[in-house]
Amino acid sequence: MNGCNDTPRRGKKLLTTVIVCACLMLAAESAPAQTPAEESPQELAALLAEQSSSLAGELRRIQREIAALRADLDKPGIQEVFGGIGYIFGLFGTAAFVASRRRDPKPKE
């Protein structure tokens, strides 16, 4: 941010402050309307830093949650387990059926 330490550029400083405040209010509506003229840039910077740190914490939490969800998705569920067991018994049942058909005709004839 420019113009923090120069008194002659007061107008520019004020303009910057107003723009930053507007951005802040747009970005986070939780921040109540603060009188822009009375905020010093240092306070604003502190406010920004605080908000960004809280946002970063929130983001980290959400990322962790997503990672946990993905790990859960990777784990096979009960459906896969029973589906696989069903496949196995079905395949072996079919094999046994075919084998019995192949063997059956002899004693009948």
Binding site: P76, G84, I88, F89, S100
Partner: protein
């Protein structure tokens, strides 16, 4: 202990498929139709056993029961393990489909060896059968770790380094599998000893060396 896609070189992948297809065909040929229900049950047990996670440090390893399957099924074990691995890789995303042949070799060959070991050394008494079964169960996993190291060594890894890591990571599994196999075989010897007589001893009169 499943090999993922893209770990092994192409030649080993193709060779693994060819070798395991040949052994699976032999295994299917040796499977009698009366044995099919038993093979199915052991296959299902093998398929589900991989879901039993054993926490080990930061990671966790899961149960693989090649030794138990080999001891119970004999020659049919390779078929059972191949099918179980196919379904595991399709449904659980354990190991890649392209590495299926190598995975089947990794689990199936130790299973066959354990089957021979168990049939050769199981005595008449229940106690001895349980002990030999437990040894076979432990041996199966240890051999599988060695085959894994052998397969990875073809991809340029250092054999002894991988073997050491694979064996160290599976020490708890080896112990647990030994106990599980000993318990299972001891129980079966009590309630249904006929299950411990795999077909490849009974049906093949041409294999007297196994007796």
């Amino acid at each position: 202990m499943h090999i993922s896609d893209g770990v092994l070189p192409i030649s080993v992948t193709v060779g693994g498929y060819a070798a395991s297809a040949a052994i699976a065909a032999w295994s299917a040929h040796r499977t009698r139709s009366e044995e099919l229900p038993k093979v199915a049950v052991v296959t299902a047990a093998f398929f589900v056993a991989s879901l039993i996670q054993v926490p080990f440090g930061p990671t966790s390893v899961h149960l693989l029961i090649p030794g138990l399957a080999g001891a119970l099924l004999g020659a049919s074990a390779f078929l059972a393990i191949g099918l179980g691995l196919l379904l595991q890789s399709m449904l659980f995303q354990f190991g890649g489909l392209t590495a299926l042949g190598a995975n089947a070799l990794m689990m199936g060959v130790p299973a066959l060896l354990c089957g021979v070991f168990f049939q050769r050394f199981k005595g008449r008494t229940r106690r001895r059968q349980a002990i030999i079964g437990g040894l076979a169960g432990a041996l199966g996993t240890a051999l599988a770790a060695l085959v894994l190291a052998l397969l990875l060594a073809t991809g340029g890894e250092d054999f002894f380094g991988v073997a050491k890591i694979a064996l160290a990571a599976h020490v708890p599994v080896v112990v647990i599998e030994g106990l599980v196999s000993a318990f299972t075989i001891g129980f079966l010897a009590k309630v249904k000893p006929a299950l411990l007589e795999p077909a490849f001893v009974q049906s093949e009169k041409a294999a007297p060396c196994l007796r």
